[in-house]
């Protein structure tokens, strides 16, 4: 079992001395991101409530931070960073393409059904 770990994150900006140290470093990073999410979620700053590409700016921030967290969990906790390119691509791109398609088709249709409701063709209380 060759287990040489790559010990740097942020494209080499932060280098760790040992694998254990890297784990604690990633924990701190994930905790900071979660803390930011929670604080934003509680206070909901007015300036982030504007709509951007069909969704509130705040929600875009939440989703992007979530994907950042998912990246570090997969890359450092699940050691994807140390796997071969082939395995990495097989796992990640398969999931990303299928999930993007799924999200697109379902949200698109949800939006359409909503438009039917809101244009008044369907009434719920008589």
């Amino acid at each position: 079992m060759g287990h040489a770990h790559k010990l740097e994150i942020f494209r080499g900006l932060i280098k760790f001395k040992s694998n254990t140290q890297k784990i604690w470093g990633v924990l701190i990073l994930l905790s900071i991101i979660t803390a930011i999410e929670v604080v934003l979620g509680i206070y909901k700053p007015e300036s982030l409530m504007n709509s951007f590409l069909g969704m509130k700016l705040l929600n875009w921030i939440f989703i992007i931070l979530t994907i950042v967290k998912a990246y570090y969990i997969t890359w450092d906790f699940m050691h994807m960073r140390d796997e071969t390119k082939g395995l990495r691509r097989a796992v990640v791109w398969t999931a990303i393409f299928l999930i993007c398609y799924l999200i697109f088709i379902l949200l698109q249709e949800g939006n359409y059904v909503e438009s039917v409701y809101s244009s008044g063709y369907i009434k719920r209380d008589f």
Binding site: M1, W24, V38, A70, D76, F77, T84, G110, K123
Partner: protein, 333 residues
């Protein structure tokens, strides 16, 4: 013709047998296969949640108003705090898991044992927290009235908070007087043996209407979101009319049929997605316990390889990964 099985493998070529393609062992590769398929299952659920949410985008419950409770802090509205704690616990147990894997690479049995133990404890705390979260959600807060069309009407009043008029929710019990029960619950032992019904709500719609009429300050709030993305509060006359004309059922708490917080789909998805995730955590804990005992018994010590810890670790991190998304889409967005 030498087409026997023994000859089909070509030495020193990937996929020829006898080596590990992509430098991953068979077990780890299969765990990755499983994780990808399970990730697609979960994204299917979350995308379906997104579908329903977009379908009812103007009347979807606001998560911050639903999940406000923290154990031991009764009556305080603290959105996000408890679920942030749960998230932290799960990330923490992910860390102890990866530390166990790291200790496994160094064949350090004592450390692997200790870190596996901490991981199991973290998982149990998380599952317990989720059970508490469910119990609180099922029990409900204020109670509501469901209309003929399945909409939810909630109650509240305007109160002065630092000179500002703020809408505060009022529980049914605070303004409805419960007279004698109209009828008792139908149980199969005292009625038709093949018919059953759930427990009856504490009040009837008529009693709620009387209570509303007697309390001038109480108003009805619909699920419809207004321009400020807040739920619409009806005027006094509209409130009375809404209950009188449309109210059919008093709802307390949430289950798969009714949901006092708003759209019943919200409760359905909450039970289904967090339940499916909780089931994953539970089975992860079981797998961790099995591996934990194998570590103690020295199975991997003798094998000179702790790869099994690594494989169960992959699953455990995946459970954490899924929670990160559930947290975002159920509690934040």
């Amino acid at each position: 013709m030498s087409s026997t099985v023994a000859n089909t493998g070509v030495d020193n070529q990937s996929w020829g047998g006898g080596n590990a393609p992509l430098k991953a062992s068979y077990g780890k590769m299969m765990m990755w296969f499983f994780i990808v398929s399970d990730a697609l299952t979960f994204s299917g659920f979350l995308a379906a949640y997104g579908f329903s949410r977009f379908k009812f985008i103007d009347s979807w419950p606001i998560a911050d108003e639903v999940f406000t409770h923290v154990p031991f802090l009764h009556g305080q509205e603290l959105p996000m705090i408890y679920v942030a704690f749960m998230t932290f616990i799960l990330i923490m147990s992910s860390v102890t898991m990866v530390l166990a894997v790291d200790a496994g690479h160094k064949l350090d049995k004592a450390k692997v044992t200790w870190y596996m133990f901490l991981t199991i404890i973290g998982g149990l705390i998380f599952v317990g927290s989720q059970a508490w979260e469910w119990a609180t959600f099922i029990k409900g807060d204020y109670g509501a009235v469901q209309t003929k069309g399945g909409n939810i009407l909630q109650f509240g009043e305007y109160v002065d908070v630092d000179g500002e008029q703020k809408f505060k929710r009022v529980a049914l019990g605070d303004f409805v007087v419960s007279e004698t029960k109209v009828r008792s619950q139908h149980e199969s032992k005292n009625g038709l043996w093949y018919v059953d019904e759930g427990s009856l709500p504490s009040y009837t719609v008529d009693q709620v209407y009387k209570g509303l009429a007697a309390n001038e300050n109480v108003l009805v709030r619909t699920q419809q979101l207004n321009d400020e993305r807040e739920k619409t509060v009806l005027s006094r006359t509209a409130s009375l009319e809404a209950i009188k004309n449309n109210g059919v059922l008093v709802v307390e708490g949430a289950n798969l049929q009714v949901n006092e917080y708003g759209s019943s789909l919200f409760a359905d998805f909450f039970f289904f997605i967090t339940g499916f995730h909780g089931f994953h955590v539970f089975s992860g804990v079981v797998l961790n316990i099995i591996i934990f005992f194998n570590v103690i018994l020295g199975t991997y010590e003798r094998r000179k390889s702790y790869e099994m810890v690594e494989k169960v670790g992959l699953y455990w991190h995946f459970v954490d990964l899924v929670w990160v998304f559930v947290f975002t889409f159920f509690y934040l967005v």
